[in-house]
Protein backbone atom coordinates (compact mmCIF):
# COMPACT_ATOMS: atom_id res chain seq x y z
CA UNK A 1 0.00 0.00 0.00
CA UNK A 2 2.09 2.91 -1.14
CA UNK A 3 1.19 6.45 -0.32
CA UNK A 4 2.57 9.46 -2.04
CA UNK A 5 3.57 12.23 0.28
CA UNK A 6 0.32 13.79 1.39
CA UNK A 7 -0.25 17.43 2.18
CA UNK A 8 2.05 20.24 1.20
CA UNK A 9 2.52 23.95 1.29
CA UNK A 10 1.27 26.86 -0.73
CA UNK A 11 -0.72 29.80 0.56
CA UNK A 12 -4.07 28.28 -0.47
CA UNK A 13 -3.46 25.17 1.59
CA UNK A 14 -2.17 27.28 4.43
CA UNK A 15 -5.54 29.05 4.55
CA UNK A 16 -7.50 25.83 4.20
CA UNK A 17 -5.49 24.16 6.96
CA UNK A 18 -6.05 27.24 9.11
CA UNK A 19 -9.77 26.93 8.57
CA UNK A 20 -9.66 23.19 9.37
CA UNK A 21 -7.95 24.06 12.64
CA UNK A 22 -10.41 26.88 13.33
CA UNK A 23 -13.27 24.41 12.81
CA UNK A 24 -11.75 22.12 15.43
CA UNK A 25 -12.15 24.86 18.02
CA UNK A 26 -15.49 26.18 16.76
CA UNK A 27 -16.97 22.70 16.86
CA UNK A 28 -15.80 22.32 20.43
CA UNK A 29 -17.11 25.67 21.61
CA UNK A 30 -20.77 24.79 22.29
CA UNK A 31 -19.55 21.73 24.19
CA UNK A 32 -18.04 23.85 26.95
CA UNK A 33 -21.15 25.86 27.82
CA UNK A 34 -19.56 27.13 31.01
CA UNK A 35 -16.87 28.88 28.98
CA UNK A 36 -19.48 30.43 26.71
CA UNK A 37 -21.52 31.52 29.71
CA UNK A 38 -18.49 33.12 31.30
CA UNK A 39 -17.65 34.93 28.08
CA UNK A 40 -21.18 36.31 27.94
CA UNK A 41 -21.82 37.06 31.61
CA UNK A 42 -18.62 38.97 32.21
CA UNK A 43 -19.34 41.79 29.75
CA UNK A 44 -22.98 42.00 30.88
CA UNK A 45 -21.76 42.38 34.44
CA UNK A 46 -19.31 45.07 33.46
CA UNK A 47 -21.92 47.08 31.56
CA UNK A 48 -24.41 46.89 34.42
CA UNK A 49 -21.89 47.55 37.20
CA UNK A 50 -20.24 50.52 35.56
CA UNK A 51 -23.40 52.15 34.28
CA UNK A 52 -25.39 51.80 37.51
CA UNK A 53 -22.61 52.02 40.12
CA UNK A 54 -20.41 54.75 38.64
CA UNK A 55 -22.87 56.22 36.16
CA UNK A 56 -24.44 58.54 38.73
CA UNK A 57 -21.23 59.97 40.15
CA UNK A 58 -19.01 60.26 37.10
CA UNK A 59 -19.25 63.36 34.99
CA UNK A 60 -17.29 63.36 31.78
CA UNK A 61 -16.77 66.68 30.06
CA UNK A 62 -18.34 66.65 26.61
CA UNK A 63 -20.71 63.79 27.43
CA UNK A 64 -24.14 64.44 28.97
CA UNK A 65 -24.64 60.76 29.48
CA UNK A 66 -21.95 58.58 31.04
CA UNK A 67 -23.43 55.57 29.23
CA UNK A 68 -22.47 56.99 25.83
CA UNK A 69 -18.92 57.49 27.13
CA UNK A 70 -18.61 54.24 29.02
CA UNK A 71 -20.10 51.62 26.72
CA UNK A 72 -17.48 51.95 23.94
CA UNK A 73 -14.80 51.59 26.63
CA UNK A 74 -16.39 48.37 27.85
CA UNK A 75 -16.69 47.15 24.27
CA UNK A 76 -12.97 47.73 23.82
CA UNK A 77 -12.04 46.08 27.10
CA UNK A 78 -14.21 43.06 26.46
CA UNK A 79 -12.86 42.27 23.01
CA UNK A 80 -9.35 42.70 24.37
CA UNK A 81 -10.04 40.35 27.29
CA UNK A 82 -11.47 37.94 24.75
CA UNK A 83 -8.03 37.60 23.19
CA UNK A 84 -6.82 35.91 26.38
CA UNK A 85 -8.67 32.76 25.30
CA UNK A 86 -6.06 32.37 22.60
CA UNK A 87 -3.20 32.02 25.07
CA UNK A 88 -5.10 29.61 27.28
CA UNK A 89 -6.14 27.52 24.28
CA UNK A 90 -2.62 27.35 22.86
CA UNK A 91 -1.22 26.39 26.27
CA UNK A 92 -3.86 23.70 26.58
CA UNK A 93 -2.97 22.20 23.20
CA UNK A 94 0.68 22.31 24.20
CA UNK A 95 0.20 20.58 27.52
CA UNK A 96 -1.82 17.79 25.91
CA UNK A 97 0.73 17.06 23.22
CA UNK A 98 -1.65 18.23 20.48
CA UNK A 99 0.82 20.87 19.34
CA UNK A 100 3.48 18.16 18.99
CA UNK A 101 1.17 16.08 16.84
CA UNK A 102 0.31 19.08 14.66
CA UNK A 103 3.97 19.97 14.30
CA UNK A 104 4.68 16.45 13.08
CA UNK A 105 2.16 16.84 10.24
CA UNK A 106 3.17 18.06 6.79
CA UNK A 107 1.21 21.32 7.08
CA UNK A 108 2.28 24.93 7.27
CA UNK A 109 3.10 25.55 10.94
CA UNK A 110 1.46 28.97 10.75
CA UNK A 111 -1.95 27.46 10.05
CA UNK A 112 -2.26 26.05 13.57
CA UNK A 113 -1.96 29.49 15.13
CA UNK A 114 -3.94 31.26 12.42
CA UNK A 115 -6.75 28.75 12.94
CA UNK A 116 -6.69 29.32 16.68
CA UNK A 117 -6.77 33.11 16.41
CA UNK A 118 -9.58 33.01 13.84
CA UNK A 119 -11.74 30.79 16.03
CA UNK A 120 -11.20 33.16 18.96
CA UNK A 121 -12.26 36.03 16.74
CA UNK A 122 -15.54 34.24 16.09
CA UNK A 123 -16.03 33.58 19.79
CA UNK A 124 -15.33 37.23 20.47
CA UNK A 125 -17.92 38.27 17.91
CA UNK A 126 -20.57 36.20 19.68
CA UNK A 127 -19.74 37.84 23.00
CA UNK A 128 -19.88 41.21 21.31
CA UNK A 129 -23.32 40.57 19.86
CA UNK A 130 -24.70 39.83 23.32
CA UNK A 131 -23.04 42.91 24.72
CA UNK A 132 -24.55 45.23 22.11
CA UNK A 133 -28.02 44.05 23.05
CA UNK A 134 -27.38 44.68 26.75
CA UNK A 135 -25.88 48.08 25.99
CA UNK A 136 -29.00 49.06 24.07
CA UNK A 137 -31.16 47.88 26.97
CA UNK A 138 -29.36 50.24 29.37
CA UNK A 139 -29.85 53.13 26.99
CA UNK A 140 -26.77 53.19 24.76
CA UNK A 141 -27.39 54.42 21.21
CA UNK A 142 -25.29 54.82 18.06
CA UNK A 143 -25.28 58.60 17.79
CA UNK A 144 -23.46 58.48 14.48
CA UNK A 145 -24.35 56.59 11.33
CA UNK A 146 -24.56 52.81 11.22
CA UNK A 147 -21.52 52.88 8.98
CA UNK A 148 -19.51 54.74 11.63
CA UNK A 149 -20.63 52.21 14.22
CA UNK A 150 -19.57 49.45 11.88
CA UNK A 151 -16.13 51.03 11.41
CA UNK A 152 -15.76 51.42 15.17
CA UNK A 153 -16.57 47.73 15.64
CA UNK A 154 -14.14 46.61 12.93
CA UNK A 155 -11.45 48.67 14.61
CA UNK A 156 -12.08 46.92 17.92
CA UNK A 157 -11.79 43.51 16.32
CA UNK A 158 -8.64 44.31 14.38
CA UNK A 159 -7.10 45.38 17.66
CA UNK A 160 -8.33 42.33 19.51
CA UNK A 161 -6.94 40.10 16.77
CA UNK A 162 -3.53 41.71 17.16
CA UNK A 163 -3.60 40.91 20.87
CA UNK A 164 -4.59 37.33 20.10
CA UNK A 165 -1.09 36.98 18.66
CA UNK A 166 0.46 38.42 21.80
CA UNK A 167 -1.51 35.84 23.74
CA UNK A 168 -0.55 33.05 21.35
CA UNK A 169 3.09 33.88 21.91
CA UNK A 170 2.58 33.85 25.66
CA UNK A 171 0.66 30.58 25.46
CA UNK A 172 3.62 29.02 23.65
CA UNK A 173 6.06 30.44 26.19
CA UNK A 174 4.53 29.45 29.51
CA UNK A 175 4.73 26.01 31.02
CA UNK A 176 1.11 25.38 31.98
CA UNK A 177 -2.48 26.30 31.26
CA UNK A 178 -2.80 27.95 34.66
CA UNK A 179 0.25 30.10 33.95
CA UNK A 180 -1.22 31.08 30.59
CA UNK A 181 -4.43 32.06 32.30
CA UNK A 182 -2.87 34.42 34.83
CA UNK A 183 -0.11 35.65 32.53
CA UNK A 184 -2.71 36.37 29.87
CA UNK A 185 -5.03 38.41 32.08
CA UNK A 186 -2.84 40.17 34.61
CA UNK A 187 -1.33 42.85 32.37
CA UNK A 188 -4.65 43.62 30.73
CA UNK A 189 -5.98 45.22 33.90
CA UNK A 190 -3.46 48.08 33.97
CA UNK A 191 -3.58 48.28 30.17
CA UNK A 192 -7.34 48.82 30.13
CA UNK A 193 -7.77 50.78 33.37
CA UNK A 194 -4.89 53.21 32.90
CA UNK A 195 -6.65 54.50 29.82
CA UNK A 196 -9.62 56.54 28.73
CA UNK A 197 -11.89 53.49 28.77
CA UNK A 198 -13.78 54.31 31.98
CA UNK A 199 -12.68 57.79 33.04
CA UNK A 200 -11.21 60.95 31.67
CA UNK A 201 -7.40 60.61 32.00
CA UNK A 202 -7.06 64.33 32.76
CA UNK A 203 -8.32 63.58 36.28
CA UNK A 204 -5.51 61.09 36.89
CA UNK A 205 -2.35 62.02 38.86
CA UNK A 206 0.00 64.03 36.69
CA UNK A 207 2.61 61.24 36.48
CA UNK A 208 0.01 58.76 35.28
CA UNK A 209 -1.63 60.99 32.70
CA UNK A 210 1.09 60.71 30.04
CA UNK A 211 1.03 56.95 30.45
CA UNK A 212 -2.71 56.85 29.88
CA UNK A 213 -2.45 59.22 26.93
CA UNK A 214 0.25 57.17 25.21
CA UNK A 215 -1.50 53.88 25.91
CA UNK A 216 -2.57 52.38 22.56
CA UNK A 217 -5.69 51.19 24.31
CA UNK A 218 -6.61 54.86 24.98
CA UNK A 219 -6.17 55.60 21.30
CA UNK A 220 -8.34 52.63 20.34
CA UNK A 221 -11.05 53.61 22.84
CA UNK A 222 -11.02 57.26 21.74
CA UNK A 223 -11.25 56.29 18.09
CA UNK A 224 -14.17 53.88 18.45
CA UNK A 225 -15.92 56.07 21.03
CA UNK A 226 -15.85 59.02 18.63
CA UNK A 227 -17.19 56.87 15.80
CA UNK A 228 -19.99 55.32 17.89
CA UNK A 229 -21.00 58.82 18.98
CA UNK A 230 -20.82 60.30 15.49
CA UNK A 231 -17.94 62.63 16.33
CA UNK A 232 -14.77 63.34 14.42
CA UNK A 233 -12.16 60.79 15.56
CA UNK A 234 -9.30 62.69 13.92
CA UNK A 235 -6.26 60.53 13.24
CA UNK A 236 -6.98 58.11 16.09
CA UNK A 237 -8.40 55.28 13.94
CA UNK A 238 -5.31 55.30 11.78
CA UNK A 239 -2.96 55.35 14.76
CA UNK A 240 -4.91 52.48 16.33
CA UNK A 241 -4.70 50.52 13.09
CA UNK A 242 -0.98 51.14 12.88
CA UNK A 243 -0.56 49.82 16.43
CA UNK A 244 -2.62 46.75 15.56
CA UNK A 245 -0.64 46.10 12.39
CA UNK A 246 2.66 46.49 14.21
CA UNK A 247 1.65 44.23 17.10
CA UNK A 248 0.29 41.58 14.72
CA UNK A 249 3.42 41.61 12.57
CA UNK A 250 5.83 41.34 15.49
CA UNK A 251 3.95 38.73 17.50
CA UNK A 252 2.80 36.62 14.56
CA UNK A 253 6.45 36.40 13.54
CA UNK A 254 7.65 35.60 17.06
CA UNK A 255 4.88 33.03 17.58
CA UNK A 256 5.46 31.30 14.25
CA UNK A 257 9.17 31.11 14.98
CA UNK A 258 8.63 29.74 18.45
CA UNK A 259 6.09 27.26 17.12
CA UNK A 260 8.40 26.00 14.38
CA UNK A 261 11.35 25.61 16.73
CA UNK A 262 9.33 23.88 19.37
CA UNK A 263 9.02 24.77 22.98
CA UNK A 264 11.46 22.21 24.25
Amino acid sequence: MSTEIRADGGPVWMLRDSWTEALRHLRAMPRSPELVMFAIIQPIMFVLLFVYVFGGSLMIPGYDDYTQFLVPGIFAQTVLFGSAFTGVGVAEDMSKGIIDRLRSLPISPASVLVGRTISDLVRNALTFAVMIVVAFLVGFRFDGSLFEAFLATVLLFVFSYAFSWVQAYMGLSVSSVEAANSAGFIWMFPLTFVSSAFVDPSNMPSWLQPVADANPFTILTNASRALYNGRDPGADPWIALAWAAGITAVFAYLSARKFARGAR
Binding site: W13, R24, K96, R101, R103
Partner: protein, 318 residues
Protein backbone atom coordinates in the same frame (compact mmCIF):
# COMPACT_ATOMS: atom_id res chain seq x y z
CA UNK B 1 14.14 2.76 6.34
CA UNK B 2 15.19 4.85 9.32
CA UNK B 3 18.81 5.66 9.93
CA UNK B 4 20.15 7.91 12.67
CA UNK B 5 23.85 8.54 12.97
CA UNK B 6 25.69 10.23 15.80
CA UNK B 7 22.73 12.21 17.13
CA UNK B 8 23.80 14.75 19.73
CA UNK B 9 21.44 17.02 21.64
CA UNK B 10 22.19 19.31 24.53
CA UNK B 11 19.73 21.10 26.77
CA UNK B 12 21.80 23.76 28.48
CA UNK B 13 24.60 21.92 30.21
CA UNK B 14 22.81 18.57 30.03
CA UNK B 15 23.77 16.26 27.21
CA UNK B 16 20.57 14.34 26.50
CA UNK B 17 22.04 12.51 23.52
CA UNK B 18 25.74 11.84 23.17
CA UNK B 19 25.97 10.25 19.76
CA UNK B 20 23.04 7.94 19.18
CA UNK B 21 23.00 5.54 16.23
CA UNK B 22 19.76 3.78 15.38
CA UNK B 23 18.57 1.78 12.42
CA UNK B 24 15.15 0.39 11.62
CA UNK B 25 14.82 -2.06 8.76
CA UNK B 26 11.80 -1.79 6.48
CA UNK B 27 8.83 -3.70 7.85
CA UNK B 28 10.35 -4.33 11.26
CA UNK B 29 9.84 -3.02 14.78
CA UNK B 30 12.74 -1.50 16.66
CA UNK B 31 12.33 -1.20 20.41
CA UNK B 32 14.34 1.55 22.04
CA UNK B 33 14.67 0.43 25.63
CA UNK B 34 15.94 2.51 28.49
CA UNK B 35 15.11 4.01 31.86
CA UNK B 36 13.64 7.46 32.41
CA UNK B 37 16.00 10.18 31.29
CA UNK B 38 17.99 7.92 28.97
CA UNK B 39 17.20 10.10 25.95
CA UNK B 40 14.53 8.00 24.27
CA UNK B 41 12.02 10.80 23.83
CA UNK B 42 14.69 13.21 22.66
CA UNK B 43 15.71 10.76 19.95
CA UNK B 44 12.09 10.34 18.84
CA UNK B 45 11.56 14.09 18.79
CA UNK B 46 14.57 14.54 16.53
CA UNK B 47 13.47 11.77 14.18
CA UNK B 48 9.98 13.24 13.94
CA UNK B 49 11.31 16.75 13.14
CA UNK B 50 10.11 18.25 16.42
CA UNK B 51 13.63 18.97 17.57
CA UNK B 52 16.82 19.79 15.71
CA UNK B 53 19.90 17.82 16.68
CA UNK B 54 23.08 19.67 17.61
CA UNK B 55 25.06 17.13 15.60
CA UNK B 56 24.48 13.96 13.61
CA UNK B 57 21.95 13.18 10.94
CA UNK B 58 18.73 11.28 10.59
CA UNK B 59 17.23 9.94 7.39
CA UNK B 60 13.78 8.48 6.82
CA UNK B 61 13.28 6.62 3.56
CA UNK B 62 16.10 8.59 2.02
CA UNK B 63 14.86 11.96 3.24
CA UNK B 64 16.97 13.97 5.65
CA UNK B 65 14.71 15.06 8.50
CA UNK B 66 16.75 18.17 9.27
CA UNK B 67 17.16 19.39 5.70
CA UNK B 68 13.64 18.52 4.53
CA UNK B 69 11.40 18.36 7.57
CA UNK B 70 8.24 18.97 5.57
CA UNK B 71 8.81 16.00 3.28
CA UNK B 72 9.83 13.83 6.21
CA UNK B 73 6.56 14.71 7.98
CA UNK B 74 4.65 13.30 5.03
CA UNK B 75 6.19 9.90 5.73
CA UNK B 76 5.74 9.53 9.45
CA UNK B 77 3.09 8.98 12.05
CA UNK B 78 3.77 10.01 15.64
CA UNK B 79 2.14 8.90 18.85
CA UNK B 80 3.79 10.88 21.59
CA UNK B 81 3.99 10.21 25.28
CA UNK B 82 0.73 11.97 26.04
CA UNK B 83 -2.37 10.95 24.15
CA UNK B 84 -2.54 13.91 21.79
CA UNK B 85 -6.29 13.90 21.28
CA UNK B 86 -8.71 16.79 21.47
CA UNK B 87 -10.93 15.85 24.41
CA UNK B 88 -13.68 18.20 23.32
CA UNK B 89 -14.20 16.35 20.04
CA UNK B 90 -15.52 12.86 19.45
CA UNK B 91 -13.28 10.01 18.39
CA UNK B 92 -14.55 10.26 14.82
CA UNK B 93 -14.06 14.03 14.71
CA UNK B 94 -10.50 13.70 15.97
CA UNK B 95 -9.66 11.24 13.21
CA UNK B 96 -11.41 13.15 10.45
CA UNK B 97 -9.65 16.32 11.56
CA UNK B 98 -6.20 14.80 11.15
CA UNK B 99 -7.33 13.29 7.84
CA UNK B 100 -8.39 16.72 6.62
CA UNK B 101 -5.00 18.12 7.61
CA UNK B 102 -3.46 15.46 5.37
CA UNK B 103 -5.66 16.96 2.64
CA UNK B 104 -7.98 14.03 2.15
CA UNK B 105 -11.44 14.98 0.94
CA UNK B 106 -14.29 14.87 3.45
CA UNK B 107 -15.60 11.51 2.25
CA UNK B 108 -12.16 9.92 2.09
CA UNK B 109 -11.21 11.23 5.54
CA UNK B 110 -14.44 9.76 6.94
CA UNK B 111 -13.90 6.45 5.21
CA UNK B 112 -10.40 6.09 6.61
CA UNK B 113 -11.55 7.22 10.04
CA UNK B 114 -14.33 4.65 10.21
CA UNK B 115 -11.96 1.94 9.10
CA UNK B 116 -9.52 2.83 11.86
CA UNK B 117 -12.26 3.12 14.48
CA UNK B 118 -13.35 -0.35 13.53
CA UNK B 119 -9.85 -1.73 13.62
CA UNK B 120 -9.10 -0.21 17.01
CA UNK B 121 -12.40 -1.33 18.57
CA UNK B 122 -13.62 2.21 18.98
CA UNK B 123 -16.65 2.15 16.71
CA UNK B 124 -19.11 2.11 19.61
CA UNK B 125 -17.51 5.18 21.13
CA UNK B 126 -16.99 6.97 17.81
CA UNK B 127 -19.60 9.65 18.37
CA UNK B 128 -18.85 10.31 22.04
CA UNK B 129 -16.54 13.14 23.13
CA UNK B 130 -13.09 11.83 24.02
CA UNK B 131 -13.44 13.43 27.45
CA UNK B 132 -15.30 10.30 28.53
CA UNK B 133 -12.77 7.82 27.11
CA UNK B 134 -10.59 5.64 29.31
CA UNK B 135 -6.80 5.91 29.15
CA UNK B 136 -6.58 2.84 26.98
CA UNK B 137 -9.21 4.12 24.54
CA UNK B 138 -7.43 7.46 24.24
CA UNK B 139 -4.17 5.73 23.56
CA UNK B 140 -5.77 3.58 20.88
CA UNK B 141 -7.39 6.61 19.28
CA UNK B 142 -4.06 8.38 19.42
CA UNK B 143 -2.35 5.54 17.58
CA UNK B 144 -5.21 5.40 15.06
CA UNK B 145 -4.76 9.13 14.40
CA UNK B 146 -1.10 8.63 13.59
CA UNK B 147 -2.06 5.98 11.03
CA UNK B 148 -4.62 7.93 9.02
CA UNK B 149 -2.30 8.63 6.11
CA UNK B 150 -0.66 5.19 6.17
CA UNK B 151 2.73 6.43 7.28
CA UNK B 152 5.84 4.65 6.09
CA UNK B 153 7.25 4.79 9.58
CA UNK B 154 5.32 4.85 12.83
CA UNK B 155 6.86 6.30 15.99
CA UNK B 156 5.40 5.24 19.31
CA UNK B 157 6.84 6.95 22.36
CA UNK B 158 6.13 4.80 25.42
CA UNK B 159 2.79 3.61 24.07
CA UNK B 160 1.65 1.85 27.24
CA UNK B 161 3.11 4.00 30.00
CA UNK B 162 0.39 4.79 32.50
CA UNK B 163 -2.09 2.22 31.23
CA UNK B 164 -3.68 -0.47 33.35
CA UNK B 165 -2.65 -4.06 32.54
CA UNK B 166 -5.74 -4.84 30.48
CA UNK B 167 -5.46 -1.74 28.28
CA UNK B 168 -1.79 -2.47 27.96
CA UNK B 169 -2.47 -5.86 26.43
CA UNK B 170 -5.08 -4.35 24.10
CA UNK B 171 -2.55 -1.80 22.83
CA UNK B 172 0.05 -4.54 22.45
CA UNK B 173 -2.35 -6.55 20.33
CA UNK B 174 -2.89 -3.54 18.07
CA UNK B 175 0.82 -2.94 17.66
CA UNK B 176 1.33 -6.65 16.95
CA UNK B 177 -1.30 -6.39 14.25
CA UNK B 178 0.45 -3.38 12.72
CA UNK B 179 3.76 -5.22 12.74
CA UNK B 180 2.15 -8.18 11.02
CA UNK B 181 0.95 -5.94 8.21
CA UNK B 182 4.49 -4.68 7.76
CA UNK B 183 4.37 -1.20 9.31
CA UNK B 184 7.90 -0.06 10.02
CA UNK B 185 7.84 0.99 13.65
CA UNK B 186 10.13 2.56 16.19
CA UNK B 187 8.83 2.33 19.72
CA UNK B 188 10.38 3.41 22.98
CA UNK B 189 9.71 1.70 26.26
CA UNK B 190 10.92 1.33 29.80
CA UNK B 191 9.73 -2.25 29.99
CA UNK B 192 11.74 -5.24 28.84
CA UNK B 193 8.66 -7.41 28.51
CA UNK B 194 7.11 -4.85 26.19
CA UNK B 195 10.17 -4.65 23.97
CA UNK B 196 10.39 -8.42 24.09
CA UNK B 197 6.79 -8.83 23.03
CA UNK B 198 6.70 -6.21 20.28
CA UNK B 199 10.15 -5.59 18.88
CA UNK B 200 12.12 -7.51 16.28
CA UNK B 201 15.23 -5.78 17.47
CA UNK B 202 16.06 -3.86 20.62
CA UNK B 203 18.45 -0.98 21.15
CA UNK B 204 19.26 -0.37 24.80
CA UNK B 205 19.92 3.28 25.47
CA UNK B 206 21.46 4.79 28.59
CA UNK B 207 22.61 8.30 29.38
CA UNK B 208 22.28 9.33 25.77
CA UNK B 209 24.12 6.47 24.05
CA UNK B 210 23.12 3.09 22.70
CA UNK B 211 24.88 0.55 24.91
CA UNK B 212 23.62 -2.66 23.33
CA UNK B 213 21.53 -3.88 20.47
CA UNK B 214 20.15 -7.19 19.37
CA UNK B 215 17.05 -9.34 19.54
CA UNK B 216 15.35 -9.87 22.88
CA UNK B 217 16.76 -13.38 23.00
CA UNK B 218 20.28 -12.14 22.35
CA UNK B 219 20.06 -9.53 25.06
CA UNK B 220 18.64 -12.00 27.52
CA UNK B 221 21.39 -14.44 26.74
CA UNK B 222 23.87 -11.75 27.67
CA UNK B 223 22.21 -11.25 31.01
CA UNK B 224 21.43 -14.88 31.72
CA UNK B 225 17.90 -14.52 30.46
CA UNK B 226 14.75 -15.87 32.04
CA UNK B 227 15.13 -18.76 34.38
CA UNK B 228 13.21 -21.91 35.06
CA UNK B 229 13.59 -23.30 38.56
CA UNK B 230 12.64 -26.91 39.29
CA UNK B 231 12.69 -28.52 42.73
CA UNK B 232 12.63 -32.34 42.85
CA UNK B 233 11.57 -34.76 45.51
CA UNK B 234 14.57 -36.98 44.83
CA UNK B 235 17.98 -35.41 44.30
CA UNK B 236 19.34 -38.49 42.55
CA UNK B 237 17.33 -37.85 39.40
CA UNK B 238 18.85 -34.36 38.97
CA UNK B 239 21.12 -35.38 36.06
CA UNK B 240 18.23 -37.14 34.35
CA UNK B 241 16.05 -34.08 34.63
CA UNK B 242 18.86 -31.86 33.43
CA UNK B 243 19.10 -34.02 30.36
CA UNK B 244 15.35 -33.93 29.85
CA UNK B 245 15.25 -30.16 30.01
CA UNK B 246 18.42 -29.56 28.01
CA UNK B 247 16.45 -28.76 24.85
CA UNK B 248 14.91 -25.75 26.59
CA UNK B 249 18.16 -24.34 27.93
CA UNK B 250 19.88 -21.42 26.25
CA UNK B 251 22.89 -21.68 28.58
CA UNK B 252 24.39 -23.88 31.22
CA UNK B 253 22.02 -25.67 33.60
CA UNK B 254 22.92 -25.21 37.26
CA UNK B 255 22.45 -28.20 39.53
CA UNK B 256 22.01 -27.70 43.24
CA UNK B 257 22.29 -31.07 44.97
CA UNK B 258 21.80 -29.70 48.46
CA UNK B 259 18.54 -28.02 47.51
CA UNK B 260 17.61 -30.86 45.21
CA UNK B 261 16.89 -28.31 42.51
CA UNK B 262 18.10 -27.12 39.16
CA UNK B 263 18.04 -23.77 37.39
CA UNK B 264 17.64 -23.66 33.62
CA UNK B 265 18.29 -20.50 31.64
CA UNK B 266 15.59 -20.27 28.98
CA UNK B 267 14.78 -17.85 26.19
CA UNK B 268 11.27 -17.13 27.33
CA UNK B 269 9.33 -18.34 30.34
CA UNK B 270 5.94 -17.48 28.90
CA UNK B 271 3.72 -20.55 29.15
CA UNK B 272 6.66 -22.81 29.87
CA UNK B 273 5.51 -24.25 33.18
CA UNK B 274 2.65 -26.53 32.07
CA UNK B 275 4.82 -28.07 29.35
CA UNK B 276 7.65 -28.76 31.76
CA UNK B 277 5.31 -30.29 34.30
CA UNK B 278 3.77 -32.55 31.67
CA UNK B 279 7.16 -33.55 30.35
CA UNK B 280 8.53 -34.49 33.77
CA UNK B 281 5.30 -36.20 34.71
CA UNK B 282 5.47 -38.34 31.58
CA UNK B 283 8.98 -39.38 32.54
CA UNK B 284 7.66 -40.42 35.93
CA UNK B 285 9.62 -37.82 37.88
CA UNK B 286 8.35 -36.54 41.18
CA UNK B 287 8.36 -32.73 41.12
CA UNK B 288 8.03 -30.65 44.28
CA UNK B 289 7.90 -27.24 42.69
CA UNK B 290 8.35 -25.45 39.37
CA UNK B 291 8.92 -21.73 39.26
CA UNK B 292 10.06 -19.09 36.81
CA UNK B 293 11.97 -15.86 37.04
CA UNK B 294 11.75 -13.33 34.24
CA UNK B 295 14.71 -11.18 33.44
CA UNK B 296 13.83 -7.54 33.68
CA UNK B 297 15.16 -4.27 32.37
CA UNK B 298 17.01 -4.11 35.67
CA UNK B 299 18.82 -7.36 34.89
CA UNK B 300 19.72 -6.19 31.40
CA UNK B 301 20.84 -2.90 32.77
CA UNK B 302 22.79 -4.34 35.60
CA UNK B 303 24.54 -6.75 33.26
CA UNK B 304 25.35 -4.01 30.74
CA UNK B 305 26.23 -1.13 33.01
CA UNK B 306 26.96 -2.68 36.38
CA UNK B 307 24.40 -0.40 38.01
CA UNK B 308 20.65 -0.48 38.49
CA UNK B 309 18.21 1.57 36.40
CA UNK B 310 17.56 4.13 39.10
CA UNK B 311 19.72 6.87 37.66
CA UNK B 312 19.21 10.55 38.26
CA UNK B 313 16.66 11.62 35.70
CA UNK B 314 18.11 13.89 33.06
CA UNK B 315 15.74 16.79 32.74
CA UNK B 316 12.09 16.38 31.84
CA UNK B 317 12.78 14.03 29.00
CA UNK B 318 11.75 10.37 29.12
Amino acid sequence: MVVAEGLVKRFGSTEALRGVDLEVERGTVLGVLGPNGAGKTTAVRILTTLLRPDAGRAVIDGIDVVAEPRRARGLIGLTGQYAAVDERLTGLENLVHVGRLFHFGKAEARRRSNQLLDRFDLSDAASRPVLGYSGGMRRRLDIAMSLIAEPKVLFLDEPTTGLDPRSRVAVWDQIDELARTGTTTLLTTQYLDEADRLADEIAVIDLGVVIARGTAAELKRRVGGDQLHVVLADRDVLPTVAELLAHRAVGEIQLDRAGSSLTVPVADVDGIVPGVVRELDAAGIDVSDVGVRRSTLDDVFFALTGRPTQVDPVGEDG
